[in-house]
Amino acid sequence: MQVTGTVLTTRRVDAYHALTVVAPGIAERHRPGHFVSVAVGGARTSMITRRALTVHDVKPDYGGTVELVFTVRGPGTAWLAERRARDTLDLVGPLGRPFPLPRDPVHCVLVGAEYGSAVLFPVADALLERGCRVDFLLGGAGAERVFGAMRARRMAETTTLTTEDGSLGLRGKVTDALPSVIADTRADVVYACGPMETLRAVTAVAIEFDIPVQVAVEEAMACGIGVCMTCVIPVIGDDGVTRMVRACAEGPVFRGERVRFEDVGTIPFDALGAPGGGARHAG
C-alpha cells in the first residue's frame, strides 16, 4: 500500500542515516525482511525511480512507525538524508517476501555486512519471540560502517564484529569469522544481508556446514513492486531450472544455495529463455 508518512525523527548511525517515519498500515503489515520504497526529490522532482529502503525497526507508536536505514549513494539518498522531522515521505510497502522463520527454537546466526545488517534486527526480534537462540556477526570496512553493534549486543547471545581495517572487532570480513561462529553457537540456520559478494561467501560457508541459509539481496530497483523488470538475478527454482527472477517480487529473501551468485550481472547460458537457448532473436 501507499501512504504519505511523516518523518518523526532523524538520526545518524555512524556512516549511515536513519529516518523514523509514521506509516500506519505499512508498520502493521510489516514482516521481517520486507522493505519499503520511497519517492525522492519532492513533488516536482526529476528523479522518477523510487529508492528501496531497509526497515530497521517497526513500532506501534503513533499508529505505527518504521525506521528506515540507508547510506547516501547519490542525489536521491542525499535528498532523503536532508529530511527533517515533520517532513512527509511517499512510501510504498511492505514489499517483497519476508524471511521464513523456523517453527522450532533453533540456533540462528545473523550475518550482516555494512547497512545490510539493519534488516536483521526485526528478524532477531521475531526469532527471540519464538525462543530461538540469536547470535550476531556484523561487519564493515571500518568501525563506522558496522551497523547496529550496540543493539546486537543487547539482543543476542553473542555478537561478533569484524572490520576490514581492524578498527573494531576482528580484522577481516564477516565470512572469515563465520565458520567459528557457526561452530561455537552450534547454529542450525544462517540469516544474511549485505552486498552480493558477502552473500555469496556466506552461502558458501553455510553449504560447507550443511545448514540452511536465507539471504536478503540488495539489488538496484526502479519500482520495487515487480513491474519494471530491472532487478533480476539468476535463481534456481524448485524444478532445477534457473530463471531470471525479480529481487523485489520473488525476493529479496532467497535460499542462499538457490542464488547463482557467480552469475549475477549475466544471463547464464542455461537460464530459461537465455539467448541461444530457444529465444530466436536478440532484442
Binding site: 525511480t49 538496484a220 513491474v227 519494471c228 531470471m244 544471463i267 537465455a274 536478440a282 532484442g283
Partner: protein, 325 residues
Amino acid sequence: MSVDMRTFLAHVELANPITTAAGCASSGRELAQFFDLHRLGALATRSITMAPRAGRPTPRMAETPSGMLNAVGLQGPGIDAFLERELPWLAQRGIRTIVSIGGGTVAEYSELARRLADAPGVTALEVNLSCPNIEDRGRVFAREGSAAAEVIASVRSIMRYDVPVVAKLAPDVADIVSVARACVDAGADALSMINNPLGMAIDTEALRPALAAVTGGLSGPAVLPLAVRCVWQVHAALPGVPLIGVGGVMTGRDAFQLILAGACAVGVGTALFHDPYACLRIERELEDLLEARGFQRLADAVGLAHRPPGSAPRHLLVDSEESSP
C-alpha cells in the same frame, strides 16, 4: 456533472482512455495488489514472444534527468506460458487487455497472432515493431514503413476481424508519418506511439556505460514532448486513425496534451514505477481538467489543438451556449 470518458479504439469501446503502457504492468497481478484493474481503460501486457526470454543482463536500468533508461530485453514467459497462466487470469476477471507481441521475423509475429487469434480475452493486439528484424541485419521493423507494413499486414490477416490490430511505432525514425501511413495502409486499425527512443548513460565512477546492454530505451517525462510531437504529426496526416499516445505521461495534464494532439487513449508506463496508482490518478486529473474546461465528452477534446488559428477556445464556446437564454 461528470465527463463522459468513454473512448473507442477502432470499434472497441473503453470505459476510459487510460491504459498501461506495454511492458510496464508485468503480468497485471502486481498492480492488482494496489487497485482494481477494471478501473483501467485497458491493461497492455508486456511484449509476448514465442519462446520464453531471459532478457538482458543487469544493470538494466539507469536513472536519467526526468527519465530513466531501460534495457530489459523483453524478458517474458513466452507465448505458451502466457496463454496458460497470464491471459486466462486477466480474461477470467474480464479485464480489458491489449496484448503486445514482439518477434524477430514476420513469421514469428504471424505465429504469435495465430496463437492469440482464438484466445479469449484479447481486447486488442498491439504489435511492438521496435524489435530487431533478424532478416534485415537487426534493424528494427519500426524504422522502415515497408518492414513494418509487412508485419502488420500478416498479423491483420490472421487476427479475427473484431480484434483491432495496433501498430506500436518508434519515435527515432526519419519520418514517423510515413511509417504510420504504411501501417494503416497495411491494415492497422489503430496506432500507438511512442515506444522508447534509444539513449545512453555513462557511469562516471566505473568509467563505462551504465547499462550492461550499453544503450537502452529512454522513458519518463523527458520523452513527453517527443510523444506529443509524434501524435500531433500523425494525427495531422491521418486524422481518422485512432491513436494511443504513450510517452512520459505523469499527470492528467500530460495525458491532456496527448489528447489535444490527437490521441484518443493514453498509455501510462514509467509513472507506474513511481506511483502504482498513477493510472487512476491520471484518469481523475484528466477528467477534472476536461470538466474545468467545460467538456462533456472526452471525445470532443481529441485532436482539438489542431483547430485553425483564430477559432475560439472551445470551452468558452460551451460556456456561452450554456449561459445563453
